[in-house]
Amino acid sequence: MSSKNTSVAWPELAAFVLSKELNDGEIGSPGGARSEIPLAAARLAQLTHAPNLMIITSAAGFVTNNVGRPPAPLFHSTTDYRNIYAGAESVLHFMSIFRTPRDWFFAGGMQVDSYGNLNMTAIGDVKAPKLKGPGGAGLSYAGSVARRYFIYMQQHSRRSFVNKLDYVTAMGYGSGPGEREALGLVGGGPALVFSPLAVMDFCDATKRLRLRSVHPGHTVEEVLDNTGAEMIVPENVPTTALPDNDVLEILRTQVDPSGVLQNLKGSRND
């Protein structure tokens, strides 16, 4: 298929943006409730600039590399058995999942604050919460060991980007520079936040959330209106770059031939 004149759905944009964050030779795990996105990002990286990238589908222990292999379908879950067809070369024992390196992890969250701390526990009083979250999963673990990790939020609102979390389920930069080191957390902390509206990273000096780019069709004002967390806004905020046709072609023909990302619920904002 030709990808020309086909608008890019935000999950596709997410996969593209995140894929560029992954370097050749790294080892990492896609995760979170919408793991199609990081899984696609990692496979896209393998098939473009990072042929030695190894993916561990954490919860199922498959270690995969799809370089030079026939396209494999993208599935909704990293725990799906059929991920074995995407170049699985080994399967880690369950306990070995926690004994192997991660250059990166992906994490979702119900709430994120301006230091990249995450809440997956509850909104409101945990004794009788307005919204009970799914729980800590492996977020705190991943955040403590991974060289860095990427946060992707399915909504960008004042309820999801807040200054004070109802509960800290996983620590990002805590309350600022030096706190991770003081606690002996060996991982580097969150590197980037992706939302349906924008890409954000963290200021090296202050560890504060910082607006990096705004997706096409959206504005800085719109982002700020929907952000309850303090955020550094540089003078010039570029528009999030779209994948060129070659990369989009690889994404749509080799990484996600069945169009799972294009058809994700709420994937369209055009």
Partner: protein, 301 residues
């Protein structure tokens, strides 16, 4: 020379000793290798006040036990339906305060199970340091590392009374082989055995012992870790038997939709659990041949 005894059991024999208030640990993860047949049998027996443990992820299995009123406490690192949404029964019960939730990271639960499996009093994890988890969970203790003195999270050994797991195949002595991934089932069985509990495995099929002796490296769980083997074809349905058949998304969504009202959930439980006397009746009533044919075919994409 005497002969070996076999571990093939009926559900009734296997579940003898099941009591209110016990700690039940469930194998598999998310929609995979969940021993749904045994989950329904436990729910049908209307056991109360269970502490239900599952690692790393639970969905329909634990949520159904909550909806059926069997659960007092949930110890599950991730309790949800992943791309199909949040866990409705869990969410409702937690909001209404009718269950206790043991807030944790998966490495806390694993440290507690590993400690038991090694007959150690406690385990540690770095996860949780810098979070609120130990403020919400009194079993998590922020301590100083024995050697470096740095902050670390300690948790006491966890000893389940009963473990239920599902494998694609087993033999009459209790050796188990999975078609796909076995997730946390091994450490679950090890911790339950070493803690003095009982392990029950359902299997899609019983294979001859020679299938295991001919390739012992392929045995995922040894018979020394299994007390009862129950032959239950499609025993994980509507969840997957990982690598053997896929999960039935429509059947799982049927539960999610039933959770929209108390009446519809009562109807669902009556229809899927209370009104079906055994596994055969369940398959007769709720599983179409073509749907399992499709679930099997899907394995190959």
């Amino acid at each position: 020379m005497e002969t070996r005894s076999v571990k093939l059991s009926s559900v009734d024999v296997a579940l003898e000793g099941l009591e209110d208030g016990q700690t039940l640990i469930i194998g598999g993860s998310l929609f995979h290798n969940k021993p749904m047949h045994l989950v329904r049998e436990i729910a049908r027996r209307q056991v109360k006040d269970l502490t239900v443990v599952s690692v790393p992820q639970a969905s329909l299995d634990v949520d159904l036990l909550i909806s059926a009123g069997c659960v007092a406490e949930v110890r599950v690192p991730y309790m949800g339906f992943e791309y199909l949404g949040l866990a409705p029964g869990f969410r409702k019960a937690a909001s209404e305060g009718t269950i206790r939730v043991w807030e944790c990271d998966e490495t806390h639960l694993l440290a507690a199970l590993e400690a038991t499996s090694r007959k150690l009093p406690s385990g540690v994890a770095k996860a949780g340091v810098g979070t609120d988890l130990h403020k919400l969970n009194p079993d998590l203790k922020l301590v100083k590392d024995h050697i470096t003195g740095e902050p670390i999270m300690a948790v006491g050994a966890l000893k389940p009374d009963l473990a239920i797991i599902h494998a694609a195949a087993g033999d009459k002595y209790g050796n188990l082989r999975y078609a796909g991934y076995s997730f946390g089932d091994l450490i679950i069985a090890e911790a339950t055995r070493q803690g003095g509990g009982k392990i029950i495995a359902t299997v899609d099929e019983v294979m001859p012992n020679v299938s295991f002796t001919s390739d012992p490296f392929r045995t995922d769980i040894s018979c020394i870790l299994v007390d009862h083997v129950i032959e239950a074809p499609y025993g994980a349905y509507p969840c997957s038997s990982h690598g053997n058949y896929q999960f039935d998304e429509a059947a799982i969504l049927e539960y999610v939709n039933a959770a929209k009202s108390e009446q519809s959930m009562r109807d669902y439980i009556e229809n899927h659990i209370m009104s079906v006397p055994d596994h055969e009746a369940y398959l007769e009533k709720h599983v179409k041949l073509m749907s399992v044919v499709a679930a099997r075919a899907k394995i190959y994409v």
